[in-house]
Amino acid sequence: MGWLDAVVQGILLGGLYALFATGLSLIFGVMRLVNLAHGDFSILAAFLAVVAVRALDLNPLLALLLVVPVMAAVGYGLQRLVLNRLLGRGILPAVLVTFGFSVIIQNGLLQTFSADSQRLNPGGIETASLALGGGLAVGWFSLLTFALAVVLLVALQLLIGRTAIGRAFRATSDDGETAELMGIDNRRLYGLAMGLSLAVVAIAGIVLGIRTTFTFASGPDRLLFAFEAVIIGGLGSLWGTLVGGVILGVAQTVGAKLSPGWGVLTGHLVFLTVLLLRPSGLFTTSRRVD
């Protein structure tokens, strides 16, 4: 594997990281909530896909159509029933409660599915590759993942930029109290934001499960990469999330090329460098974050 190859693989990996990071960034933007169970929700979605694949003999890509709405409903329900009760008490109660979700999800998955690693098999596409010439080849599935990330980001951009609900997200992000006075039911809006966040991370979880094996404990690493992508890119910027994901992905694959054990470490070092030099990220919007 040459250096160029490492960079190309890293860019495509960035698409996956963007899928993980987008939902995290969205809910922080709309309601200043840090969801420490974000990675575990993605793994929960992957296990749900395993169940759907076994029970209905589905292709995992088709299982997306079932699991994504279920995860959206889970997000909406948890926000309305639990997380909305923590509103207006600062950031810490939500951090503690979502940390609790993380513990519950991991142990629930361990109890139900054992500690065995799982994998979703879509029937060949995950190993098929496209030769680009010059000895360079990229996996079809990596390309598909990257394209999916771009399509989703465009769709979210349109939702947030052009629709009434998107305006309500932005207004609430600016000034939640005034948004409420204008008639926005913020509890319902937060439910929708969390539903959207978990729908996107469910896609990320299933894509991950097709690329690689996962266990009940795979969530926290995903959360860490998602945070790194969000912070490199800059909070509140959707395209920044993709750029952050790509930078992190390239750092990891190039690091792994230097030495097989250095991939994740190089990613962390690049993240820390960005945090030192541009603590607000590379693509910060003018939006106030308080």
């Binding site: 009434a164 305006r167 309500a168 932005r170 207004a171 992000s173 600016d174 000034d175 109290e177 005034t178 948004a179 409420e180 006075l181 204008m182 008639g183 926005i184 039911d185 919007t285 003018s286 939006r287 106030r288």
Partner: protein, 232 residues
């Protein structure tokens, strides 16, 4: 019959009690002014009527229905709409989008983007700019327009003149008179008494969280108002 009837309302601003048994009525179609010094409880009163703060004691009735304690969005559905103190324009939204947020509940009525642009042509000219790029007076117009987009029955207006030049304030009061001619009931809070008394049918003077004087401006003397305002 009164559109808004507040009876014996008490409310808190944080831990501090800001209203002590305030009663106020507004008949459909009239303009009611609430005046008083800084800290008299005027803003707390408006915010409580709009549902942004809880009713500690007392009753708020709107159109004959008890509405105290309902959330703001439910009150917007009934037609109670607040133009907040300090304008509170959303910085990430354009002028047009700020207006559209006002129409979020899709309440039926005469106000549309086109009508607001006719009322405030400057907002139409600058519709694609960020709302906070406007001058203070223009932002106040935007805040009023945003409130109108909700098609209010009762428009609550908090400190319309705050930080604005007298000539702008005069224009804004002319606009309020026009809105009133549409049949919208107005409840206007002001610290600056001179303008508001020219448009109000009734005035309530607040002092230290109670009503110190109430009546039609024409029947009240300057000295009475001054005494009620400052406490003689």
């Amino acid at each position: 019959m009164s559109l808004l009837a507040v009876r014996d309302l008490s409310a808190f601003y944080g831990d501090f009690q800001a209203l002590f048994g305030v009663s106020l009525e507004a008949t459909e179609g009239e303009t009611v002014a609430v005046i008083g010094a800084n800290g008299a409880g005027k803003t707390t009163f408006l915010r409580t009527v709009a549902g942004a703060q809880p009713v500690a004691r007392g009753a708020v009735r709107f159109g004959g229905e008890s509405v105290g304690g309902r959330p703001p969005h439910a009150l917007v559905d009934l037609g109670i709409v607040l133009v907040p103190e300090g304008r509170k324009i959303f910085p990430s939204l354009s002028v047009r989008e700020n207006l559209q947020i006002g129409a979020f509940r899709r309440r039926a009525g005469p106000w549309t983007l086109e009508r607001v642009y006719r009322l405030f042509p400057i907002l139409g000219e600058r519709r694609d700019q960020p709302g906070t790029n406007l001058s203070g007076g223009e932002q106040q117009m935007l805040a009023i327009g945003r409130g109108l987009m909700a098609n209010p029955r009762l428009l609550l207006v908090d400190e319309i003149s705050l930080g604005l030049a007298p000539v702008i304030v005069k224009q804004l009061y002319e606009v309020l008179a026009g809105i009133r001619r549409e049949g919208t009931t107005l409840l206007v809070v002001e610290q600056d008494v001179s303008q508001v008394l020219t448009v109000a049918d009734h005035v309530y003077c607040f002092r230290k969280g109670t009503v110190s004087l109430a009546g039609a401006p024409s029947r009240l003397s300057r000295a009475e108002i001054s005494a009620a305002y400052f406490g003689a």
